[in-house]
C-alpha cells in the first residue's frame, strides 16, 4: 500500500500534510476518464451544462467589458494573493487577534476530522439539534453534513442550489451553482418529490420555484439558533469576515441565529480592508456575471444587539499547507472560488462536475484536488484537460492553471510501461541511426492502426481516446536523401511546410500528414514537403548530411 510522500512525512509534526483519507469529498470513487465516459452518455446533462455555461459566459463578458481597468484589477488581485501566501503565518495570527478582540472565538483545525469535531462539538454545546447552513465549499470539502448526521444534528442547506442537491439526494457539480446539472423541470420534480408542504400545482417557472424555496425555509430560518457558514474573505487588519451571496439566505444565517460558526480555509485571509476594493470588483463579475451580487454581509466579531452574539471562526488547513509547500504549485491557493474557469472549460462543459470526484471540479479542481490530497490520490485529474488555456484567461486572479496541470502531470505516478517507453524513446532519439530505423518501423503502426481501429494491445490505451495520426509515406529524411537531382536551394528560400502542397502553416502535424495522400509523385518533384511539421522541426536541427548517405529511398514499399 503506497502512501503519498507528503502524508508519510506527517509523522514529523509541523511538516505540511495533505488532507486525510476517509473523510470529506476530495477524492472520487473512480478515475476521471471512467467517470467522464459515463457522464458523456448523458445528453440531458450536456444540454443543461451547455445552456448554463453559455449564459454565464455571455453575462460575465458583458460586465467585465464595462470596466476599463479589469486587467489592472486582475494584476492587483494576483499580486495581493501572492503577498498573502508569502506571509500567511503573521496574517493568520493578526486575524486571530482582531477576531478575538472583537468578541469572537478562534479555533484551528489541522484537517477535516478535527474541523468536524470542533464544529459538531460547538453545535452540541448549544443544545440545538438543527443547523442552518450557507453554501460553503470548505464545509463540503470536509464532509461536515455527514459528521452532523452522525452526531444526530440535522443540517439544512439554505442556498437554493444546495437545497436542490440536498433534496435530490445528489452531489454538487459546480463551485458556484451546485445544481447546474439540473434544469428547471428536473428541479420542479425534485421539489414535488422531496419538499415537505410543497404546492402540488408547482410549475417549472424559475420565480415560482424560488418562491417555493422561500416559503419552505422561512420558518426554519426563524426558529434555528445555530448557523454554519464559510467565508469569502477575512481581513487580518480588522478581523472582518465577509460572505458574498445572492438570495438572502446568507443574510438570514449570518443575522438571525444566536450562534454563528464560520469555517474558513487559511488561504482566504487578506491583509487589509483596502484589499476588498479589488476582490469585490473581481469576484461578482467573474462569478455570476453581475456588477455586484445582490447581498454581501460583513461582520467583525460580535455586535451587541445586532446579529449572533456567539461567533466562532474555525481556521482550516486540511492540506493547504502541503499546497503551499510546493513552490511551483502554491498559486492554486490564490483561488477565490468564482468558478469562471469551469464556465469556460471545454472539458467541464462536456463531462460535468461529478466526473472530477471532488467538490472542486473543473480546471481549478483538477489542480487543487490532487494538491490537497497528494497527487497519488487524484492522479487522473491533472490529465482532465486539453491545456487550451481558456481557464487562465478567465481567472480573475490570473492563476496559470495550464502550467500547474503540467507541473502536476510530472508529479503524477506514471505506469512502468510508460516510463520504459519514454526512456527507450529518449535513447533512440539520441542516436540518428537508431532513429532512422525507428521511423521505418513506425510505418508498421500505420498498418496496424488503420483509421478507426487504433493500435493493438498493449498500445490500445493510447488510441482509445485519440485518433492515431497517419504517418506520412515519406519522411523528411527520405525526401532529403532522394533529392539529389534537385538543384541546391538558395538559403533565402528555405522549404517551408505547406508552401506548395496546400498544407496550412497553422495546421498540426496530423493534418500535414494527411496531405501525404497526395501521393509520392508530388513529393518526388522536391517542391512539396509532406512530412509532419513536428518531424521537420526535429530533423532540421540534426545534421541531414550525416544520414543522407545511409538512407536510401526505403519506405515507399510500405504503401498498400
Amino acid at each position: 500500500m503506497s502512501e503519498p510522500a507528503s502524508a508519510s512525512s506527517s509523522t514529523f509534526l509541523g511538516m505540511p500534510a495533505t488532507a486525510p483519507r476517509g473523510v470529506g469529498h476530495l477524492r472520487g470513487d473512480r478515475p476521471f476518464p471512467q467517470a467522464a465516459r459515463d457522464a458523456l452518455q448523458n445528453s440531458q446533462l450536456r444540454r443543461n451544462l451547455r445552456h448554463a455555461t453559455t449564459t454565464i459566459r455571455g453575462k460575465s463578458g458583458r460586465v467585465i467589458a464595462e470596466l476599463p481597468d479589469w486587467q489592472a484589477l486582475r494584476d492587483a488581485g494576483s499580486a495581493i494573493k501572492t503577498d498573502v501566501m508569502s506571509r500567511l503565518p503573521e496574517l493568520l495570527v493578526e486575524l486571530e487577534e482582531r477576531v478575538v478582540a472583537a468578541g469572537g472565538v478562534v479555533h484551528w483545525a489541522a484537517d477535516a476530522h478535527e474541523a468536524n469535531r470542533i464544529v459538531t462539538g460547538l453545535v452540541q454545546a448549544t443544545g440545538s439539534e438543527r443547523v442552518i447552513k450557507v453554501k460553503s465549499m470548505a464545509t463540503q470539502e470536509i464532509g461536515l453534513n455527514e459528521a452532523f448526521e452522525a452526531a444526530g444534528i440535522t443540517p439544512v442547506e439554505t442556498d437554493l442550489a444546495e437545497l436542490i442537491v440536498q433534496l435530490g439526494d445528489d452531489k454538487p457539480s459546480h463551485i458556484l451553482v451546485p445544481a447546474i446539472h439540473r434544469n428547471r423541470s428536473e428541479i420542479r420534480e425534485i421539489f414535488l418529490r422531496a419538499m415537505p408542504g410543497v404546492d402540488p400545482a408547482l410549475t417549472d417557472d424559475p420565480p415560482v420555484l424560488a418562491a417555493a424555496a422561500r416559503r419552505y425555509l422561512r420558518e426554519t430560518f426563524l426558529s434555528t439558533r445555530v448557523a454554519v457558514s464559510g467565508a469569502n474573505f477575512a481581513i487580518a487588519e480588522t478581523g472582518t469576515l465577509g460572505v458574498v451571496e445572492s438570495e438572502g439566505n446568507g443574510r438570514m444565517c449570518l443575522t438571525l441565529p444566536d450562534t454563528l460558526i464560520t469555517v474558513m480555509g487559511i488561504e482566504k485571509v487578506l491583509p487589509s480592508w483596502r484589499d476588498l476594493e479589488v476582490f469585490l470588483q473581481l469576484l461578482p463579475r467573474a462569478s455570476t456575471g453581475e456588477r455586484m451580487n445582490p447581498y454581501t454581509t460583513m461582520w467583525t466579531g460580535v455586535t451587541p444587539g445586532d446579529g449572533p452574539q456567539n461567533f466562532h471562526l474555525v481556521l482550516l488547513d486540511n492540506g493547504r499547507s502541503a499546497v503551499l509547500a510546493d513552490t511551483a504549485g502554491r498559486s492554486a491557493l490564490h483561488c477565490i472560488r468564482c468558478s469562471a474557469c469551469l464556465n469556460v472549460c471545454p472539458v467541464y462543459e462536456r463531462t460535468g462536475g461529478h466526473s472530477y470526484g471532488s467538490v472542486y471540479p473543473g480546471p481549478i479542481g483538477a489542480v487543487l484536488s490532487p494538491q490537497l490530497t497528494g497527487v497519488a490520490d487524484n492522479a487522473s485529474l491533472p490529465f482532465a484537460s486539453s491545456l487550451c488555456g481558456a481557464c487562465f484567461d478567465a481567472c480573475p486572479v490570473k492563476i496559470d492553471i495550464p502550467s500547474l496541470l503540467v507541473h502536476l502531470r510530472n508529479k503524477a505516478p506514471h505506469a512502468a510501461a510508460e516510463k520504459a517507453a519514454m526512456a527507450a524513446a529518449a535513447r533512440i532519439m539520441d542516436r540518428p541511426r537508431w532513429y532512422a530505423s525507428a521511423q521505418r518501423a513506425a510505418k508498421m503502426a500505420r498498418i496496424a492502426g488503420r483509421r478507426g481501429r487504433g493500435l493493438p494491445p498493449p498500445l490500445s490505451g493510447w488510441t482509445a481516446g485519440r485518433d492515431l495520426p497517419e504517418f506520412p509515406e515519406q519522411t523528411f529524411r527520405d525526401w532529403w536523401s532522394g533529392r539529389t537531382d534537385t538543384p541546391a536551394r538558395p538559403a533565402a528560400d528555405p522549404p517551408s511546410p505547406g508552401f506548395s502542397s496546400g498544407v496550412s502553416g497553422s495546421d498540426g502535424g496530423s493534418s500535414a500528414g494527411r496531405d501525404a495522400s497526395a501521393g509520392p509523385g508530388s513529393s518526388a518533384g522536391g517542391e512539396s514537403l509532406a512530412a509532419p511539421e513536428s518531424s521537420v522541426g526535429r530533423e532540421s536541427s540534426a545534421s541531414p548530411d550525416a544520414s543522407a548517405g545511409r538512407e536510401s529511398s526505403a519506405g515507399w514499399e510500405d504503401e498498400r
Binding site: 509541523g14 489592472a72 501572492t82 500567511l88 438572502g248 456588477r291 447581498y295 454581501t296 454581509t297 488547513d317
Partner: protein, 199 residues
C-alpha cells in the same frame, strides 16, 4: 502541541523558501478617480430591478405611504429622521422577529451607495437600524442623499468603517441557481425601492 502551533508550524515549514514579494501594483482606478454620476446609479439600480424615485425630503413620508398603501405597517429604525416617517410607522426598539416580519415595509437611510455597481451599503447606524429589520419585511424602502453616492467600489471602501456590521445590497433578493439566469425574489426583500433625494 496545539493545532494552532501545528498549523502555523506547517505553514512556516511550507515557506522555507522565504519568498520575497514586491508591493502589489494598484494601477486600477483608485478611490477619488471619478465623480459619482447619479444617472449611472439610477440606471444600474433599475437594471437590477430596484425601483427609483427622485423626491425631496418633504415628500419621503407621502411616497412611502403611497408605496405600502392604506393601512400598511411601516417599520423604521429608531434614528430615522422624523420628517421621513410616514404616519403610523412603528420604530424598532428590540422587536421580536415575528413583529419585524409582520411589517409590510421597512424604511431606512443608507451609509453609502456605489453608482457603478448599483449598490447600497447599510452600516447599522441609528438611521438604518439592526440588520434584521431590513431582512424580514418583503419591501425595503431606502432613502439616499446625493452626497452619499460614490463612483466606484474603492470609493465606498474608503468611506466605510470595517468594524460596523455592513450589508451591501444590489437590487432585490435574487438567485442565479436555476440555469444561471438571474431571478428576483428568494429569501430577502423581494422589492427594493430607492428614494433619491433631490434636496
Amino acid at each position: 502541541m496545539s493545532s494552532r502551533e501545528l498549523i502555523l508550524g506547517r505553514v512556516r515549514a511550507a515557506l522555507r523558501d522565504a519568498p520575497v514579494v514586491p508591493e502589489p501594483p494598484r494601477d486600477y482606478r483608485p478611490a477619488g478617480a471619478n465623480w459619482a454620476d447619479l444617472d449611472v446609479l439610477v440606471d444600474r439600480l433599475v437594471d437590477y430591478k430596484a425601483e427609483v424615485y427622485r423626491v425631496t425630503s418633504a415628500e419621503v413620508a407621502a411616497t412611502v405611504a403611497g408605496l405600502v398603501g392604506e393601512g400598511g405597517a411601516v417599520l423604521v429604525p429608531p434614528g430615522l429622521p422624523h420628517l421621513w416617517r410616514p404616519e403610523g410607522a412603528f420604530a424598532d426598539d428590540g422587536l421580536p422577529p415575528d413583529r419585524i416580519a409582520g411589517a409590510d415595509a421597512v424604511l431606512t437611510a443608507a451609509a453609502v451607495a456605489v453608482a457603478e455597481t448599483g449598490t447600497i451599503v447599510l452600516d447599522a447606524s441609528p438611521d438604518q437600524g439592526r440588520r434584521i429589520i431590513t431582512l424580514l419585511p418583503d419591501v425595503h424602502v431606502c432613502v439616499l442623499r446625493p452626497a452619499q453616492v460614490v463612483a466606484s467600489v474603492p470609493d465606498a471602501i474608503a468611506r466605510l468603517d470595517a468594524t460596523r456590521p455592513l450589508t451591501w445590497i444590489s437590487g432585490p433578493s435574487a438567485t442565479s441557481d436555476i440555469e444561471l439566469n438571474r431571478v428576483e425574489g428568494v429569501h430577502g426583500p423581494r422589492h427594493l425601492h430607492v428614494l433619491l433625494l433631490t434636496d
